[in-house]
């Protein structure tokens, strides 16, 4: 029985560090790939489902969000996109949405103040607010990871995810630090623990290197696959991946 025609999404994630598009391994080891405008143009031509842009320098420098990044995004494409990086207050979110962002992604700002999530959802609706959760697994235990200090945090990861879900976030972007950048497939350690309790869409990210990795993710009930390096460093094009997944009976646009 077919209950929905909603398609599984394949979402290129563009990491930006000082205006350069970078890739990372284990959330470090940054390697410059290109510039933002060109990269967006490439994905635009491939007619991708959606794009996520994450400015990793913004939280690190505690700077304001760089609205130029959003202007570049918005100028060059019709496709849906979301932005994350350094969003600290409702005004930041409003600026992003006014510049054409469909969704924004919150990460570090929620660790000190979860009430911010509540306010954001009240003001802009759940559907506009993604919570980005980075985690690292050590000795078969998963920890929330802080990309600013590059340290694991002493939070109960599962409780944290449930708490942001209870505050009605729209989606969860779940990123594994361990698998990031190695093209060896997604990590399912946390997804499998939380999936049955989280009723909002989950975007899985970190480690995708081939189309069958995405098939795996969708079979584990991820709603969307985020990926970066597969598009930059492998032989698989966006359409190749879609074709493969369609052949495997996954609903793809």
């Amino acid at each position: 029985m077919n209950f929905t025609d909603l398609k599984k999404r394949i979402i290129p994630i563009i990491l930006i560090n000082d205006y350069q598009v970078v890739t990372s391994r284990n959330f470090s080891d940054y390697r410059v790939f290109g510039n933002l405008e060109q990269t967006i143009e490439i994905f635009n031509r491939r007619d991708v489902d959606e794009i996520i842009v994450l400015d990793i320098s913004s939280s690190k420098k505690k700077s304001l969000i760089d609205l130029n990044i959003l202007k570049i995004m918005s100028k060059n494409t019709l496709m849906p996109f979301s932005y994350g990086g350094g969003i600290k207050n409702l005004n930041d979110i409003e600026n992003c949405l006014n510049l054409g962002c469909d969704k924004i992604s919150l990460n570090s700002s929620l660790r000190k103040n979860k009430n911010f999530l509540k306010e954001a959802v009240n003001e802009f609706g759940s559907q506009a607010i993604t919570v980005s959760v980075d985690y690292i697994v050590e000795n078969s235990k998963a920890f929330l990871y802080d990309h600013v200090s590059s340290k694991k945090l002493d939070f109960n990861l599962i409780d944290f995810i449930k708490s942001v879900y209870d505050l009605n976030c729209g989606e969860i972007l779940l990123s594994s630090v361990n698998s990031d950048g190695y093209l060896n497939g997604y990590d399912f350690f946390v997804l499998n623990q939380i999936r049955s309790e989280i009723d909002c869409p989950i975007i899985l990210s970190g480690g995708c290197g081939k189309p069958s990795d995405m098939l795996n993710a969708f079979e584990n009930d991820a709603d969307a696959c985020g990926a970066g390096s597969i598009f930059y460093y492998t032989k698989y094009g966006y359409q190749d991946i879609k074709k493969f997944l369609k052949e495997k009976q996954i609903k793809i646009r």
Partner: protein, 207 residues
């Protein structure tokens, strides 16, 4: 009378709609003063955000009154996403029983979650739409892709089911496009895809 305007009532994402109109070479005016919308034949009402904050921003600027007036005068109105929901009487999303524009009779309800069948909410991404039996719209090109971009947790439930022209399926069937005479609305974002631009273009050419 001038042709096309985009309603700017504060918290909404009008830039995507404007960009889409530029893309189809459609002249338009962004209107921030409510009474000005009476000068336009085709009014586009975009919207992202919650029902309460959308209605609040709209009323604060007096757009509620003038949109009702425009609707009764027969001006064409295209509501998009929250803009569609605000046209109705009330919404389950409201925490204070805020009244909608009530240009169309009916309520806005939450999409039902059915996790055993992979039905999660919000309903985010590309979904297909299907014609209802009452469809008489010429907004969509028959040969084109029927996948459109949705980002919603709520859906409209018109009292008069005949105004539903297209459905989407997410667990159950919900209204994707409605039309009641001069009032048209889409739950998805036509401004976000090439096939959606055709809908915008056809709306702008309605006379």
């Amino acid at each position: 009378m001038k042709k096309v305007c985009v309603v700017n009532y504060g918290i909404n994402n009008i830039s995507s709609v404007c960009k889409a109109l530029k893309n189809i070479n459609q002249d338009y005016t962004v209107v921030s003063e409510a009474n000005k919308i009476l000068n336009f034949e085709n009014i586009i009402l975009p919207g992202v955000g919650s029902f309460d904050s959308g209605m609040y921003s709209m009323s604060k600027r007096g757009f509620d009154k003038y949109l009702k007036k425009a609707a009764s005068k027969g001006q064409f109105i295209l509501g998009i996403c929250l803009g569609m929901q605000l046209l109705f009487s009330r919404s389950q999303e409201s925490t204070s029983d805020t009244k909608g524009l009530n240009v169309l009779k009916g309520n806005v309800s939450k999409i039902e979650i059915d996790k055993h069948n992979g039905i999660y909410v919000p309903h985010v991404g590309w979904n297909s739409i299907f014609e209802s039996e009452t469809n008489d719209l010429n907004l969509i090109d028959g040969n084109d892709s029927k996948d459109f971009y949705f980002v919603n947790s709520y859906h409209v439930v018109p009292e008069d089911k005949k105004i539903i022209k297209y459905y989407f399926r997410h667990g159950k069937e919900y209204a994707a496009i409605i039309r009641n005479e001069n009032i048209i609305a889409t739950q998805f974002h036509p401004e976000k895809s090439k096939n959606g631009l055709i809908i915008l273009n056809n709306f702008c050419n309605l006379k």
